[in-house]
Point group: C2
Chain length 239, copies 2
């Protein structure tokens, strides 16, 4: 047993030391951090060790490295935040509430002009259009309107969406994808109000999500949440 506390590796200590100076504001944006050779002298290690620490800080956008000039503290990237968007079933069960799912309708059809527009494709063959409702402890939680491009996900034609929500099914059947979310607010119309069991005119949060994988559109979905009960939480670091 050693008296010394469990020490992180040297490069992690170097990285942490520098990170601390940046995060406390001691080294403001634009500040030049010590040259590699200075850190080598200070920590008594090889340049590769210092380089690894600085490379990771650069990869994390905390510093900018310029040849011949040195490494500089970057100004915070205040325009980005990490928004947690969980799978609805996982979200509800994580809250310890009973998840309920109900398929409202499912239609297989040749893509209409409106479908193509929604999916952002010029031409599409067949699509599946799904409407469903998610509930937590039997209380309506969200309404989902989804379109799946069957030319990208042919298996979706035969999937049983009466038991498994399409979002969960897609997560397990379609690998790595990219997505774009658009968040807005509306007031509930009659149909929405009925489905969510809220008054007409009540505020709703709308998430439009458009998902693709390497230039192939997969699905477009609109999620409607009661605006006063649902919250999206985003956290970020930096400015």
């Amino acid at each position: 047993m050693s008296l010394a506390a469990d020490q992180p590796t040297l490069y992690k200590r170097i990285r942490a030391d520098i990170e601390k100076c940046i995060l406390t504001g001691e080294w403001p944006p634009g500040h030049r951090i010590p040259f590699e050779h200075e850190l080598v002298a200070r920590y008594g290690c090889s340049r590769m060790t210092v380089n690894k620490a600085l490379s990771e800080l650069a990869q994390a956008d905390l510093i900018e490295r310029r040849r011949r000039a040195g490494s500089f503290v970057r100004r915070p990237q205040h325009q980005s935040a990490v928004l947690k968007i969980a799978d609805i079933r996982a979200e509800i069960t994580a809250l310890g509430r009973a998840y309920g799912y109900e398929l409202i309708h499912r239609r297989l059809r040749a893509a209409t002009a409106a479908d193509r527009d929604r999916l952002g494709v010029r031409k599409a063959g067949k699509v599946v259009a799904i409407s469903c409702r998610h509930s937590a402890d039997k209380v309506p939680f969200a309404i989902e309107d989804r379109l799946i491009d069957l030319s990208s996900v042919p298996d979706a034609a035969t999937a049983d969406f009466s038991r498994e929500p399409p979002g969960s099914w897609l997560l397990h059947h379609v690998p790595w994808t990219e997505a774009e979310h658009t968040i807005s607010a509306i007031v509930a119309d009659e149909r929405t109000a009925g489905a969510l069991a809220i008054p007409v005119g009540a505020p709703c949060l709308v998430i439009d999500r458009y998902t693709w994988r390497s230039a192939r559109t997969i699905t477009a979905v609109r999620l409607l949440y009661p605006g006063d009960s649902h919250r999206l939480v985003a956290r970020f670091k930096g400015g």
Copy 2:
């Protein structure tokens, strides 16, 4: 002039090759990627070069490295997205529209119980409470209600918020911070409707942002946008 295209460095090529296999789905989540020594043999380079490529993929959460077992494709982290939240002035000017700013009121006071609650602190000394309006081409764009903790940002007591929006001022005077955003929807009450020039009952998008720096609360702000005209866009990669 060389015939060969401008080649990236070897470790970048290795990283890109592996990334491609993951992103195309060729190597699904859980798939074991080749051992370092296999990649060393395949690319004819030293282990450090391969290690650098794999370390970066691990840092980007694309793979998981397990001692003795190997490196594995991680299952996509579908619960997070990058939400772009620009400084309002920057956002409006980026759209090529004329930015307008108007201070509605500014009060310096000892923190009330409600203020402390909003800032999430047990005790606070003085605070500045600010209400202001942002507009684009003279059309109301957003209403801002802000509280600044003067014990964290004493300079805010004397800053001239009649000319510069508090958000921009803070960005330039307070370094690296962390924040949490909560997004919800409401319908406009009378005061909000008047300030945003929209009908009472119209949908509004609400962003509550709470900002701190290393455990010190800095500011809490509520932004109200007309829900049908404003959109938050978030993009993400993975699942």
